[in-house]
Amino acid sequence: MKDATNEAGTASQDGNHAGRLAVEQVYGYMVRNHKELGIITTFLGWVFLRRENGGRLFMTRMFACANLPRLRRIGYSLPTFTISMALYFFSSIAEATPDLYETVGNPPQLAHFPMAGVTTAAAPWIQPPLPREFHHESLPEGYQYPLPYPDVQNWGAFLMEPWGKADQLGPKTWVASLHAGGARKRVVVKLWDSWRMDPANRDKEVEIYKRLESLWGVDVPSLFAFGAFCFSHALVVDYIDVLLLAYVADVGSSLVG
Protein backbone atom coordinates (compact mmCIF):
# COMPACT_ATOMS: atom_id res chain seq x y z
CA MET A 1 0.00 0.00 0.00
CA LYS A 2 1.38 3.40 -0.91
CA ASP A 3 1.69 6.17 1.61
CA ALA A 4 -1.73 7.50 2.34
CA THR A 5 -2.40 10.97 3.61
CA ASN A 6 -5.88 11.70 4.76
CA GLU A 7 -6.43 15.38 5.31
CA ALA A 8 -9.16 14.71 7.81
CA GLY A 9 -12.35 16.52 6.97
CA THR A 10 -12.21 15.94 3.23
CA ALA A 11 -14.50 12.97 3.66
CA SER A 12 -17.72 12.75 5.55
CA GLN A 13 -16.93 12.07 9.18
CA ASP A 14 -20.38 11.30 10.45
CA GLY A 15 -22.15 8.01 10.88
CA ASN A 16 -21.61 4.84 12.80
CA HIS A 17 -18.16 3.93 11.46
CA ALA A 18 -16.50 1.68 14.04
CA GLY A 19 -13.02 2.20 12.60
CA ARG A 20 -13.19 5.98 12.71
CA LEU A 21 -14.73 5.96 16.17
CA ALA A 22 -11.99 3.66 17.47
CA VAL A 23 -9.22 5.82 16.00
CA GLU A 24 -10.83 8.99 17.38
CA GLN A 25 -11.13 7.37 20.80
CA VAL A 26 -7.52 6.24 21.07
CA TYR A 27 -6.24 9.46 19.51
CA GLY A 28 -8.32 11.34 22.11
CA TYR A 29 -6.69 9.37 24.92
CA MET A 30 -3.26 10.02 23.42
CA VAL A 31 -3.62 13.75 22.87
CA ARG A 32 -5.46 14.54 26.13
CA ASN A 33 -2.88 12.61 28.16
CA HIS A 34 0.08 13.93 26.16
CA LYS A 35 1.11 10.45 24.96
CA GLU A 36 2.85 10.04 21.65
CA LEU A 37 2.10 6.32 21.23
CA GLY A 38 -1.02 4.17 21.15
CA ILE A 39 -2.38 0.81 20.04
CA ILE A 40 -5.76 -0.48 18.90
CA THR A 41 -6.10 -4.26 19.17
CA THR A 42 -8.81 -6.79 18.46
CA PHE A 43 -6.47 -9.73 19.21
CA LEU A 44 -6.87 -10.75 15.56
CA GLY A 45 -5.71 -7.31 14.38
CA TRP A 46 -3.22 -4.74 15.65
CA VAL A 47 -2.92 -1.06 14.70
CA PHE A 48 0.02 0.97 15.99
CA LEU A 49 -0.35 4.75 16.30
CA ARG A 50 2.04 7.63 16.81
CA ARG A 51 1.19 11.31 17.01
CA GLU A 52 3.07 14.54 16.41
CA ASN A 53 2.28 18.01 17.62
CA GLY A 54 -0.01 19.87 15.24
CA GLY A 55 -2.80 17.31 15.24
CA ARG A 56 -0.81 14.84 13.14
CA LEU A 57 -1.48 11.13 13.54
CA PHE A 58 0.52 8.31 11.99
CA MET A 59 -0.99 4.83 12.04
CA THR A 60 -0.28 1.45 10.53
CA ARG A 61 -2.71 -0.73 8.67
CA MET A 62 -4.26 -3.50 10.73
CA PHE A 63 -1.67 -6.24 11.08
CA ALA A 64 -2.87 -9.81 11.47
CA CYS A 65 -2.03 -11.69 14.66
CA ALA A 66 -0.49 -14.44 12.53
CA ASN A 67 0.65 -15.10 9.00
CA LEU A 68 -2.47 -16.96 7.95
CA PRO A 69 -3.94 -16.94 4.42
CA ARG A 70 -7.45 -16.76 5.89
CA LEU A 71 -6.62 -13.43 7.52
CA ARG A 72 -5.06 -12.03 4.35
CA ARG A 73 -8.20 -12.92 2.43
CA ILE A 74 -10.34 -10.82 4.77
CA GLY A 75 -8.11 -7.78 4.49
CA TYR A 76 -5.51 -8.04 7.24
CA SER A 77 -1.97 -6.96 6.48
CA LEU A 78 0.34 -9.92 7.09
CA PRO A 79 3.29 -8.68 9.12
CA THR A 80 6.96 -9.46 8.56
CA PHE A 81 7.31 -9.68 12.34
CA THR A 82 5.35 -11.29 15.12
CA ILE A 83 3.01 -9.26 17.30
CA SER A 84 5.10 -10.22 20.32
CA MET A 85 8.17 -8.71 18.64
CA ALA A 86 6.18 -5.57 17.82
CA LEU A 87 5.02 -5.22 21.43
CA TYR A 88 8.58 -5.72 22.64
CA PHE A 89 9.78 -2.97 20.27
CA PHE A 90 6.85 -0.75 21.20
CA SER A 91 7.43 -1.02 24.94
CA SER A 92 11.08 -0.09 24.40
CA ILE A 93 10.35 3.07 22.44
CA ALA A 94 7.46 3.94 24.78
CA GLU A 95 9.82 3.83 27.73
CA ALA A 96 12.17 6.27 25.99
CA THR A 97 9.49 8.62 24.66
CA PRO A 98 8.71 11.69 26.78
CA ASP A 99 5.26 13.23 27.02
CA LEU A 100 4.26 15.31 24.02
CA TYR A 101 2.03 18.33 24.64
CA GLU A 102 -0.27 19.54 21.90
CA THR A 103 0.13 23.25 21.25
CA VAL A 104 -1.47 25.76 18.92
CA GLY A 105 -0.48 29.20 17.66
CA ASN A 106 2.70 31.20 17.71
CA PRO A 107 3.93 31.62 20.38
CA PRO A 108 2.69 28.12 21.18
CA GLN A 109 -0.06 27.74 23.76
CA LEU A 110 -1.36 24.52 25.21
CA ALA A 111 -4.31 23.37 23.14
CA HIS A 112 -7.85 22.98 24.41
CA PHE A 113 -9.67 19.68 23.89
CA PRO A 114 -13.45 19.98 23.81
CA MET A 115 -15.42 16.91 24.82
CA ALA A 116 -17.08 14.90 22.07
CA GLY A 117 -20.81 14.29 22.06
CA VAL A 118 -22.22 10.97 23.17
CA THR A 119 -23.10 10.18 19.57
CA THR A 120 -21.38 8.72 16.54
CA ALA A 121 -20.88 12.19 15.06
CA ALA A 122 -17.35 13.31 14.25
CA ALA A 123 -15.18 14.13 17.23
CA PRO A 124 -14.12 17.76 17.78
CA TRP A 125 -10.94 19.26 16.42
CA ILE A 126 -8.10 20.46 18.63
CA GLN A 127 -8.84 24.05 19.69
CA PRO A 128 -6.87 27.09 20.86
CA PRO A 129 -7.10 27.72 24.60
CA LEU A 130 -10.30 29.41 25.69
CA PRO A 131 -10.19 32.80 27.39
CA ARG A 132 -10.46 32.16 31.08
CA GLU A 133 -12.93 33.93 33.26
CA PHE A 134 -14.82 33.03 36.35
CA HIS A 135 -18.57 32.59 36.43
CA HIS A 136 -20.45 32.93 39.64
CA GLU A 137 -23.78 31.29 40.17
CA SER A 138 -26.09 31.32 43.13
CA LEU A 139 -25.54 28.42 45.45
CA PRO A 140 -28.03 25.61 45.73
CA GLU A 141 -29.13 24.30 49.05
CA GLY A 142 -26.93 21.95 50.99
CA TYR A 143 -23.22 21.66 51.13
CA GLN A 144 -22.40 20.88 47.53
CA TYR A 145 -21.40 23.90 45.55
CA PRO A 146 -21.91 23.46 41.83
CA LEU A 147 -20.67 26.29 39.66
CA PRO A 148 -19.89 26.38 35.97
CA TYR A 149 -16.40 25.72 34.72
CA PRO A 150 -15.02 28.35 32.33
CA ASP A 151 -15.03 25.78 29.52
CA VAL A 152 -18.71 25.59 30.30
CA GLN A 153 -19.78 23.28 27.53
CA ASN A 154 -17.32 20.63 28.68
CA TRP A 155 -17.85 20.35 32.39
CA GLY A 156 -21.29 19.96 33.82
CA ALA A 157 -20.64 20.44 37.51
CA PHE A 158 -18.14 21.59 40.08
CA LEU A 159 -18.15 19.60 43.29
CA MET A 160 -16.53 20.79 46.49
CA GLU A 161 -16.93 19.01 49.82
CA PRO A 162 -14.96 21.18 52.27
CA TRP A 163 -15.94 19.10 55.31
CA GLY A 164 -13.96 16.07 54.11
CA LYS A 165 -10.58 15.99 55.83
CA ALA A 166 -9.00 14.24 52.85
CA ASP A 167 -9.91 17.24 50.69
CA GLN A 168 -8.42 19.84 53.01
CA LEU A 169 -5.00 21.00 51.89
CA GLY A 170 -4.62 23.89 54.27
CA PRO A 171 -6.57 26.59 56.12
CA LYS A 172 -8.00 28.05 52.91
CA THR A 173 -7.28 25.42 50.25
CA TRP A 174 -9.34 22.37 49.23
CA VAL A 175 -9.38 19.66 46.60
CA ALA A 176 -12.54 19.77 44.48
CA SER A 177 -13.58 18.20 41.20
CA LEU A 178 -15.05 19.07 37.83
CA HIS A 179 -17.52 16.59 36.36
CA ALA A 180 -18.77 15.86 32.87
CA GLY A 181 -20.70 12.65 32.40
CA GLY A 182 -18.44 9.93 33.73
CA ALA A 183 -15.35 12.15 33.49
CA ARG A 184 -13.86 13.73 36.56
CA LYS A 185 -10.99 16.16 36.92
CA ARG A 186 -9.46 17.10 40.26
CA VAL A 187 -8.72 20.76 40.93
CA VAL A 188 -7.49 22.82 43.83
CA VAL A 189 -9.64 25.68 45.14
CA LYS A 190 -8.20 28.47 47.23
CA LEU A 191 -10.61 30.79 49.04
CA TRP A 192 -10.07 34.09 50.88
CA ASP A 193 -12.80 35.31 53.25
CA SER A 194 -14.10 38.47 51.58
CA TRP A 195 -15.62 39.75 54.86
CA ARG A 196 -12.16 40.12 56.32
CA MET A 197 -9.87 40.48 53.29
CA ASP A 198 -9.84 42.45 50.09
CA PRO A 199 -9.07 40.54 46.85
CA ALA A 200 -5.49 41.85 46.58
CA ASN A 201 -3.86 38.60 47.76
CA ARG A 202 -5.93 36.54 45.35
CA ASP A 203 -5.21 38.96 42.49
CA LYS A 204 -1.49 38.81 43.19
CA GLU A 205 -1.55 35.02 42.84
CA VAL A 206 -3.58 35.32 39.65
CA GLU A 207 -0.98 37.67 38.18
CA ILE A 208 1.77 35.19 39.03
CA TYR A 209 -0.12 32.35 37.35
CA LYS A 210 -0.75 34.49 34.28
CA ARG A 211 2.93 35.29 33.94
CA LEU A 212 3.70 31.56 34.05
CA GLU A 213 1.08 30.62 31.48
CA SER A 214 3.60 29.08 29.09
CA LEU A 215 4.42 26.55 31.83
CA TRP A 216 0.83 25.65 32.71
CA GLY A 217 0.37 21.93 32.79
CA VAL A 218 4.12 21.37 32.57
CA ASP A 219 5.84 22.80 35.60
CA VAL A 220 3.03 24.67 37.31
CA PRO A 221 -0.70 23.98 37.61
CA SER A 222 -3.02 25.49 35.01
CA LEU A 223 -5.15 28.36 36.22
CA PHE A 224 -8.78 27.49 35.53
CA ALA A 225 -10.75 30.28 37.12
CA PHE A 226 -10.78 33.14 39.59
CA GLY A 227 -13.40 35.51 40.90
CA ALA A 228 -16.05 35.76 43.61
CA PHE A 229 -17.45 32.56 45.04
CA CYS A 230 -20.17 33.04 47.62
CA PHE A 231 -18.54 35.16 50.37
CA SER A 232 -15.00 34.34 49.22
CA HIS A 233 -12.44 35.49 46.73
CA ALA A 234 -11.63 32.32 44.78
CA LEU A 235 -8.86 30.82 42.71
CA VAL A 236 -9.16 27.42 40.94
CA VAL A 237 -6.08 25.62 39.60
CA ASP A 238 -5.29 22.17 38.25
CA TYR A 239 -4.55 19.44 40.81
CA ILE A 240 -0.99 18.09 40.66
CA ASP A 241 0.13 15.20 42.83
CA VAL A 242 3.37 16.31 44.50
CA LEU A 243 3.77 13.41 46.93
CA LEU A 244 7.19 12.57 45.54
CA LEU A 245 8.42 16.16 45.80
CA ALA A 246 7.10 16.38 49.33
CA TYR A 247 8.91 13.18 50.20
CA VAL A 248 12.18 14.47 48.70
CA ALA A 249 11.81 17.76 50.55
CA ASP A 250 11.07 15.90 53.75
CA VAL A 251 14.09 13.66 53.37
CA GLY A 252 16.23 16.68 52.49
CA SER A 253 15.14 18.61 55.55
CA SER A 254 15.68 15.63 57.83
CA LEU A 255 19.22 15.26 56.47
CA VAL A 256 19.93 18.94 57.04
CA GLY A 257 18.27 18.89 60.44
Binding site: D14, A18, L37, E95
Partner: protein, 189 residues
Protein backbone atom coordinates in the same frame (compact mmCIF):
# COMPACT_ATOMS: atom_id res chain seq x y z
CA UNK B 1 -6.69 -39.66 61.07
CA UNK B 2 -3.66 -39.84 58.87
CA UNK B 3 -2.21 -36.52 57.90
CA UNK B 4 0.28 -36.52 55.06
CA UNK B 5 2.78 -33.74 55.39
CA UNK B 6 4.76 -32.56 52.42
CA UNK B 7 8.33 -31.45 52.52
CA UNK B 8 9.60 -28.44 50.67
CA UNK B 9 11.89 -29.48 47.86
CA UNK B 10 13.88 -26.54 46.47
CA UNK B 11 14.74 -28.42 43.29
CA UNK B 12 11.09 -29.13 42.56
CA UNK B 13 9.96 -25.56 43.12
CA UNK B 14 12.64 -24.00 40.95
CA UNK B 15 11.06 -22.46 37.86
CA UNK B 16 11.93 -24.12 34.59
CA UNK B 17 13.25 -21.93 31.81
CA UNK B 18 13.52 -23.76 28.52
CA UNK B 19 12.44 -21.00 26.15
CA UNK B 20 14.66 -18.09 25.16
CA UNK B 21 13.39 -14.56 24.74
CA UNK B 22 13.85 -14.87 20.99
CA UNK B 23 11.99 -18.17 20.81
CA UNK B 24 9.17 -16.77 22.90
CA UNK B 25 8.78 -13.61 20.86
CA UNK B 26 8.99 -15.41 17.53
CA UNK B 27 5.82 -17.38 18.27
CA UNK B 28 2.90 -16.06 16.27
CA UNK B 29 -0.42 -15.59 18.01
CA UNK B 30 -3.20 -17.94 17.07
CA UNK B 31 -6.44 -17.57 15.14
CA UNK B 32 -9.58 -17.38 17.25
CA UNK B 33 -13.10 -18.78 17.16
CA UNK B 34 -16.02 -16.39 17.13
CA UNK B 35 -19.32 -17.20 18.82
CA UNK B 36 -22.76 -17.19 17.26
CA UNK B 37 -24.06 -14.18 19.18
CA UNK B 38 -21.64 -11.25 18.92
CA UNK B 39 -22.10 -8.12 20.98
CA UNK B 40 -22.71 -4.97 18.98
CA UNK B 41 -22.14 -1.43 20.10
CA UNK B 42 -20.32 1.67 19.00
CA UNK B 43 -17.80 3.77 20.83
CA UNK B 44 -19.40 6.91 22.18
CA UNK B 45 -16.47 8.06 24.27
CA UNK B 46 -16.63 11.74 25.08
CA UNK B 47 -12.82 11.76 25.02
CA UNK B 48 -12.68 11.23 21.26
CA UNK B 49 -10.66 13.78 19.29
CA UNK B 50 -10.18 14.29 15.59
CA UNK B 51 -6.66 14.56 14.20
CA UNK B 52 -5.95 17.25 11.62
CA UNK B 53 -4.12 14.78 9.39
CA UNK B 54 -3.75 11.03 9.30
CA UNK B 55 -0.76 9.45 7.63
CA UNK B 56 0.28 5.88 7.09
CA UNK B 57 3.09 4.80 9.47
CA UNK B 58 4.79 2.99 6.61
CA UNK B 59 8.14 2.19 8.18
CA UNK B 60 6.78 0.52 11.30
CA UNK B 61 7.68 -3.02 10.11
CA UNK B 62 11.22 -1.90 9.27
CA UNK B 63 11.52 -0.16 12.64
CA UNK B 64 10.57 -3.38 14.42
CA UNK B 65 13.02 -5.50 12.48
CA UNK B 66 15.86 -2.95 12.72
CA UNK B 67 15.37 -2.72 16.46
CA UNK B 68 15.42 -6.50 16.74
CA UNK B 69 18.49 -6.98 14.55
CA UNK B 70 20.57 -3.95 15.55
CA UNK B 71 19.57 -3.00 19.07
CA UNK B 72 18.66 -6.22 20.84
CA UNK B 73 21.93 -7.91 21.82
CA UNK B 74 22.37 -11.63 21.34
CA UNK B 75 22.68 -11.94 25.09
CA UNK B 76 19.09 -10.71 25.48
CA UNK B 77 17.81 -12.82 22.61
CA UNK B 78 19.34 -16.00 24.01
CA UNK B 79 18.40 -15.39 27.64
CA UNK B 80 16.01 -18.05 28.94
CA UNK B 81 12.89 -16.26 30.12
CA UNK B 82 9.92 -18.63 29.81
CA UNK B 83 8.91 -22.26 29.64
CA UNK B 84 7.27 -24.28 26.92
CA UNK B 85 4.84 -25.61 29.47
CA UNK B 86 3.61 -22.13 30.33
CA UNK B 87 3.50 -21.19 26.66
CA UNK B 88 1.41 -24.27 25.87
CA UNK B 89 -0.88 -23.39 28.73
CA UNK B 90 -1.38 -19.86 27.38
CA UNK B 91 -2.17 -21.09 23.87
CA UNK B 92 -4.53 -23.72 25.27
CA UNK B 93 -6.39 -21.16 27.33
CA UNK B 94 -6.86 -18.85 24.34
CA UNK B 95 -7.87 -21.86 22.24
CA UNK B 96 -10.59 -22.65 24.72
CA UNK B 97 -12.22 -19.25 24.33
CA UNK B 98 -15.21 -18.67 22.08
CA UNK B 99 -15.14 -14.95 21.42
CA UNK B 100 -18.47 -13.16 21.70
CA UNK B 101 -17.75 -10.03 23.75
CA UNK B 102 -15.06 -7.40 24.20
CA UNK B 103 -14.36 -8.96 27.59
CA UNK B 104 -13.48 -12.24 25.82
CA UNK B 105 -10.93 -10.31 23.75
CA UNK B 106 -9.42 -8.78 26.89
CA UNK B 107 -9.21 -12.14 28.64
CA UNK B 108 -7.40 -13.63 25.67
CA UNK B 109 -5.01 -10.69 25.48
CA UNK B 110 -4.11 -11.23 29.11
CA UNK B 111 -3.68 -14.96 28.70
CA UNK B 112 -1.68 -14.69 25.49
CA UNK B 113 0.36 -11.77 24.15
CA UNK B 114 0.41 -9.69 27.32
CA UNK B 115 1.69 -12.59 29.41
CA UNK B 116 4.39 -13.23 26.79
CA UNK B 117 5.36 -9.55 26.90
CA UNK B 118 5.58 -9.63 30.66
CA UNK B 119 7.74 -12.75 30.61
CA UNK B 120 10.09 -11.05 28.14
CA UNK B 121 10.35 -7.73 29.95
CA UNK B 122 9.99 -8.43 33.66
CA UNK B 123 11.64 -10.74 36.15
CA UNK B 124 8.63 -12.17 37.98
CA UNK B 125 10.08 -15.70 38.05
CA UNK B 126 13.68 -14.63 38.33
CA UNK B 127 14.35 -14.55 34.61
CA UNK B 128 17.02 -12.08 33.42
CA UNK B 129 15.85 -8.60 32.48
CA UNK B 130 16.69 -7.22 29.03
CA UNK B 131 19.43 -4.62 28.83
CA UNK B 132 17.11 -1.89 27.58
CA UNK B 133 14.19 -0.65 29.64
CA UNK B 134 10.66 -1.64 28.64
CA UNK B 135 7.35 -0.22 29.77
CA UNK B 136 4.91 -2.78 31.08
CA UNK B 137 1.32 -3.30 30.00
CA UNK B 138 -1.26 -2.63 32.68
CA UNK B 139 -4.97 -3.37 32.51
CA UNK B 140 -6.88 -0.25 33.52
CA UNK B 141 -10.21 -1.90 34.23
CA UNK B 142 -10.80 0.19 37.30
CA UNK B 143 -9.40 3.39 35.83
CA UNK B 144 -6.11 4.24 37.40
CA UNK B 145 -2.91 6.17 36.69
CA UNK B 146 -4.71 9.55 36.64
CA UNK B 147 -5.53 9.40 32.94
CA UNK B 148 -8.20 11.45 31.22
CA UNK B 149 -10.67 8.97 29.84
CA UNK B 150 -10.56 5.25 30.40
CA UNK B 151 -8.32 3.40 27.98
CA UNK B 152 -8.43 -0.36 28.46
CA UNK B 153 -4.67 -0.58 28.92
CA UNK B 154 -1.66 1.60 29.34
CA UNK B 155 2.05 1.10 29.17
CA UNK B 156 3.74 2.36 32.31
CA UNK B 157 7.42 3.00 32.75
CA UNK B 158 9.81 0.98 34.91
CA UNK B 159 9.25 3.30 37.86
CA UNK B 160 5.53 2.55 37.66
CA UNK B 161 4.79 6.27 37.96
CA UNK B 162 4.47 7.46 34.36
CA UNK B 163 2.15 6.30 31.61
CA UNK B 164 4.11 6.03 28.38
CA UNK B 165 1.43 4.85 25.91
CA UNK B 166 -2.24 3.91 25.79
CA UNK B 167 -4.03 0.95 24.25
CA UNK B 168 -7.65 0.06 23.64
CA UNK B 169 -9.26 -3.27 22.82
CA UNK B 170 -12.04 -3.60 20.28
CA UNK B 171 -13.90 -6.58 18.89
CA UNK B 172 -12.68 -8.02 15.58
CA UNK B 173 -16.19 -8.13 14.18
CA UNK B 174 -16.52 -4.34 14.51
CA UNK B 175 -12.91 -3.16 14.24
CA UNK B 176 -12.04 -4.70 10.90
CA UNK B 177 -9.05 -4.08 8.62
CA UNK B 178 -11.37 -2.58 5.99
CA UNK B 179 -12.54 -0.03 8.54
CA UNK B 180 -8.99 0.95 9.43
CA UNK B 181 -8.01 1.20 5.75
CA UNK B 182 -11.00 3.48 5.21
CA UNK B 183 -9.78 5.78 7.97
CA UNK B 184 -6.27 5.79 6.51
CA UNK B 185 -7.59 6.56 3.05
CA UNK B 186 -10.21 9.07 4.17
CA UNK B 187 -13.03 7.02 2.70
CA UNK B 188 -14.77 6.03 5.87
CA UNK B 189 -17.79 8.25 5.28
Amino acid sequence: MNVHFRQWNPAASRPVFDLSRQDLLLYELQDIRLGQQLTQGSTHSRFRMRPNTIRHWTNFPEDVMLYWSDQVPDYDKDAMVHSLELLDDSFSRVDAFVFSTEQDIKNALQAGPFSFHRAATRSDRGQPLPQDAHSEIQWLDSGAMGLEGLPDYCFKDVSGQRVTAVMDAKTPWLGTPDQIDAVLNGTEG
